[in-house]
């Protein structure tokens, strides 16, 4: 392993919007979890402090990982994939069974660890690696996909058998945009699109569910969950309870929410899994439409700054990993929020950075660390990064405007005085060029022509 090298250009290419979004979401998650534990008394204080520990660890690990060039992962792609496979096998034989599924490895005083979470990142790296070692001039053909997808199906199958349909689907869906971004041949693309249309039609209208049930790919409780998703009111006290209560929690937040620590659905235990999968419902109850929309906008900002990294990344490996991380986060956010608001059947997928859970939090940080890492090192592929690319995030007005909204509301919440009384806030609001705070403003210098283009 080579010595970590730090270059001043790395700092220039550091994605500050991504960091701020991340910090915002971490804060929201901690506040939400504090409300959850605060309402229940000191006994469950443990949960909050543990989450703090996870977040902190995740943050430190992700920060530390920035010192290493992500390209060394090319060497690590196979070993990581095999590590993930080994962990999943270990779960199969040494795992802890909770609620009838075998997903966790016991970790002594740290509780338990869910290997399928880091496997998501491993799978992204692995897929990015396999698709970037070769050049495909005309795009990927079926035979090129055979090996990557075949290998990917191994962990997916193992996870499906735990059983953990949520994570299995999550990995499968995450792979989609990676393949898409690696360029597919038109016929492959058309085949995939057809599959996306045909498979759900077969599943939900032509008895595909029963076929899968007979062949034990899915379990009766999956069908049941699907039925409940369609008609939660039919069984409001039994299995439809979760979704009915979750909708009540979100709806009762109305515009401004019921207030911090005042959400009765969450406080009195009517909202199931209010600290994990249904954390967003608890947040929406206490902070209302304003709060939940703000959190969604921060997520959007995060994704947007991640897209910037994708777009600007210097090599295909990095670009594909970045797409994979974006896809992983986006799928998770979309499925979770749709699930708690009753738009999607209940599958156990946590909301990144808001839901409580060590494995999931660490995985999210790993992914985000990779993103920042890729974004920072794009100068390696440029002759003059300043000219070619003034600032990674500056090309992304949406991300910036979302940041401005958040910052502005922060000002209005924090102080009623004039903004220019507080210079640091003035910067946040007025200066689009935040890097200016961290170094000489090179974006203003005159562009140089590159000798290579």
């Amino acid at each position: 392993m080579k010595k970590p090298d730090i270059d001043s250009r790395m700092l220039e290419n550091f994605s500050w919007p991504l960091l701020f979004s991340l910090l915002g979401l971490m804060g929201a998650g901690l506040v939400n979890l504090y409300s959850f534990t605060g309402g229940r008394g000191i006994v469950e204080w443990n949960l909050f402090s543990r989450h703090c520990f996870f977040v902190l660890t995740g943050f430190v690990v992700a920060s530390a990982s920035l010192f290493f060039d992500y390209r060394i992962l090319k060497k690590w792609a196979w070993p990581l994939f095999i590590l993930g496979f080994a962990l999943l096998i270990l779960v199969k034989y040494k795992g802890v069974v909770v609620n009838g599924s075998n997903r966790w490895l016991p970790l002594g005083p740290f509780g338990r660890f869910q290997p399928s979470e880091p496997v998501k990142v491993f799978a992204v790296i692995f897929l990015a690696y396999l698709l970037s070692i070769k050049e495909y001039k005309q795009g990927l053909d079926f035979k090129d996909l055979l090996l990557p997808l075949g290998l990917l199906l191994v962990p997916i199958y193992l996870i499906l058998k735990q059983p953990d349909m949520g994570t299995a689907i999550h990995i499968l869906v995450t792979a989609g945009p990676i393949l898409l971004y690696a360029k597919l041949r038109p016929r492959v693309l058309i085949t995939f699109l057809l599959l996306i249309v045909v498979v759900p039609t077969w599943l939900f209208t032509f008895g595909g569910l029963n076929f899968l049930l007979e062949h034990k790919v899915i379990r009766p409780y999956h069908i049941q969950r699907y039925e409940i998703f369609k008609n939660p009111e039919r069984d409001p006290n039994g299995r439809g309870w979760q979704i009915t209560q979750s909708k009540s929690a979100i709806g009762s937040g109305q515009v401004t929410g019921r207030g911090f620590m005042e959400g009765s659905q969450q406080k009195y235990g009517f909202l199931p899994a209010a600290e994990t999968d249904f954390a967003f419902a608890a947040l929406a109850e206490e902070w209302g439409f304003v709060g939940s929309v703000m959190v969604l906008l921060i997520y959007l900002a995060l994704l947007w700054s991640a897209f910037a990294v994708v777009k600007k990344s210097g090599d295909k490996f990095g670009a594909l990993i970045a797409v994979g991380v974006v896809s992983m986060l986006f799928t998770q956010i979309a499925i979770n929020v749709a699930m708690v608001s009753g738009l999607f059947p209940v599958v156990g997928i946590p909301l990144p950075l808001i839901s409580y859970g060590g494995s999931s939090t660490l995985t999210t940080f790993l992914g985000l660390g990779l993103l920042v890492n890729i974004g920072m090192r794009r100068y390696l592929f440029q002759d003059d990064p300043v000219v070619q690319n003034p600032k990674v995030w500056e090309a992304e007005p949406v991300a910036l405007s979302a940041q401005t909204v958040v910052a502005a509301s922060g000002v209005s919440l924090l102080e009623s005085g004039r903004p220019h009384d507080k210079p640091w806030l003035k910067h946040l609001i007025k200066k689009r060029n935040w890097a200016h705070m961290f170094g000489p403003d090179r974006a203003l210098s005159s562009p140089k022509k590159s000798p290579f283009f």
């Binding site: 970037s132 050049e135 001039k137 945009p177 898409l180 971004y181 360029k183 209560q245 909708k247 009540s248 929690a249 979100i250 709806g251 009762s252 937040g253 109305q254 515009v255 009765s264 659905q265 009195y268 235990g269 009517f270 929406a284 109850e285 209302g288 439409f289 939940s292 929309v293 969604l296 997520y299 959007l300 994704l303 897209f307 994708v310 777009k311 210097g314 090599d315 295909k316 670009a319 797409v323 974006v326 896809s327 986006f330 979309a334 929020v337 749709a338 608001s341 009753g342 738009l343 592929f381 090309a395 590159s450 283009f453």
Partner: protein, 633 residues
Amino acid sequence: MNEDFYASKEQGQEYYPWELLFLKSLVVCVFVVLLLRLWFLQIAKGDEYLEKSRSNHISQFELPSVRGLILDRENRSLVENEVVFELTVTPKEVKNQDDLLERVANLTNKSKESLAEKLKAFEKSKPYSPSVWVTGLNRADVSRVESQGHRLPGLAVRANSVRRPIQGDFAPHLIGYIGQISKAQLESNDYPGLRQGDLVGQAGLEQSMESFLQGQKGSWMVTVDSNGRILEELQQVSPKPGHNVRLTIDSRLQRVSQALLAEQAGAIVVMDPRNFEILAMASSPMFNLFDFVGGISTERWRALNDDPFTPMQNRAVGGQYPPGSTFKIAVALTALSEGVVVPETEFNCAGALLLGNVPFHCWLKTGHGRINLFNALKYSCDVYFYELGRRMGIERLSTGVREYFGLGRPLGVELKSEQGGLVPDPAWKMRRFKRPWTQGDMLHVAIGQGYMLSTPLQVAQYTAVVANGGTLYRPHLVKEIVDYEGKIVYNAKPEVINKLSLKPEHLRTIQKGLVAVVNEPGGTGRRAALTKVKVAGKTGTSQTVSLDKYKGYTSANRPYKLRDHAWFTAYAPADKPEVVVAVILEHAGGGGTTSAPVAAKMLEAYFNPVIDTNLMPPYQAQPNEPTGWKGDL
């Protein structure tokens, strides 16, 4: 590096593959959908979900009110709200389950297995809130549980009240019973604020006095968590106890009247003629109020309803019979006040009155000869009253008795079972039978037969009007209503319905006639005479069937259902009346022989407070199988 990856990239131009654009649009679309969904849930439907969420964690408990008591005129309670104790258990608070089961099983003599089974069920359904574990504990059990309370966490004792009569066979028709509110009752607007499962009076005074007895429910609003554990109290409204209803009923007289009806279907009404307070009202056969405590069983209910003697019927106000010769009192008074006759008017009784060539017989086949009103009452001469009725006409008679004595309609005694009887007239007959009125109908009505129907209470009414000199009050059972603080809510004042202006000599003639019925040789009611008090009265024997088929039989030889009803109505003391007694014994034969002695005993009990049921034969719930049964029709 992969040069082709950036092949399309030219200087100054951004590399913007369509795939990226697609992914970005996908993200935006999904976020828009999610935002719209949040807008729908939180803003469009926010109020609805807030309500749902509120009803989740706010529970309202009802605090039952204590039902008011029903008291007799001496303020002795006739019903009680018996306190029963229940043992409740909160499963999650139980520390040592085996120990608890052992102790509770010992304390309550229940099997350990059944207790454990119940506890297990509670643990599943409501782990954090108390559930009723053992019911029907008495005070001794309770004190034993409480003495060990510190060793039995999770256990609590709760009091509950059960409506219970003091005596099951005391005036069941008057007191009535309570039961679950019916659907029809809920839909009517008579029971505001009540819900399904609430108990309301379903018969007797419990039913008619419901609005006073009920009281006002309280409520207790608390917040609970999803386990049903009570977290804090939000609001408490104390319940208001119901009012106590004090009756005009004299318990001793009531007991005596019931005892006198033993083994005999019939009714007795004892009333004060000065203000129409009902002192006793018995109807036989009776039912037992204890059957209704905590809900009557279906078999018992069916048995009561299928009983041919209809024990559930309150015959005293709901039984409608031809009043027979007792009606002659009303006819005579009406005729005098209408000026049809004067006391000195005499008619000739030849044993029958010929209408065309149909003879209308007097009960005395040989006839009474020339007879005046006084003697007609004394001997109960039918022909005299036929003649009286013929001269008066049905219109004058029917309007007269309706107006003066309140016949033909319920006067509003506080019982829903009250019936109005029937005073027939030509218009009624046309409506009912589509046939014109005949002179024969008229003659039957004049002696209280035919279509004429009245309840024992109505017979007591016209007797009382004669006794008090012509005033008709509203008969009543409720003397006063007192709220739980002792404030009088309602105090019954005699309510005059009609005041008859009579010449004193007219009234005196009738009163003397009634005295003669009891006291003079040849009077029909001699068996009602008392030694120390002068009694005035009138017998009555009302036929239940025309006699053609049973011409050869006396009443006692006919099938039970076809025998005559025996009436006797009396007041005493004759010169300063204090009490009216009306007696009917169903299918008992002649009034003078069977009912008069009963009335005498009733009057004797009124004047001699020593007499009580301990001197009388025990009450028997059903009349014996009638003797002399000749088979069915």
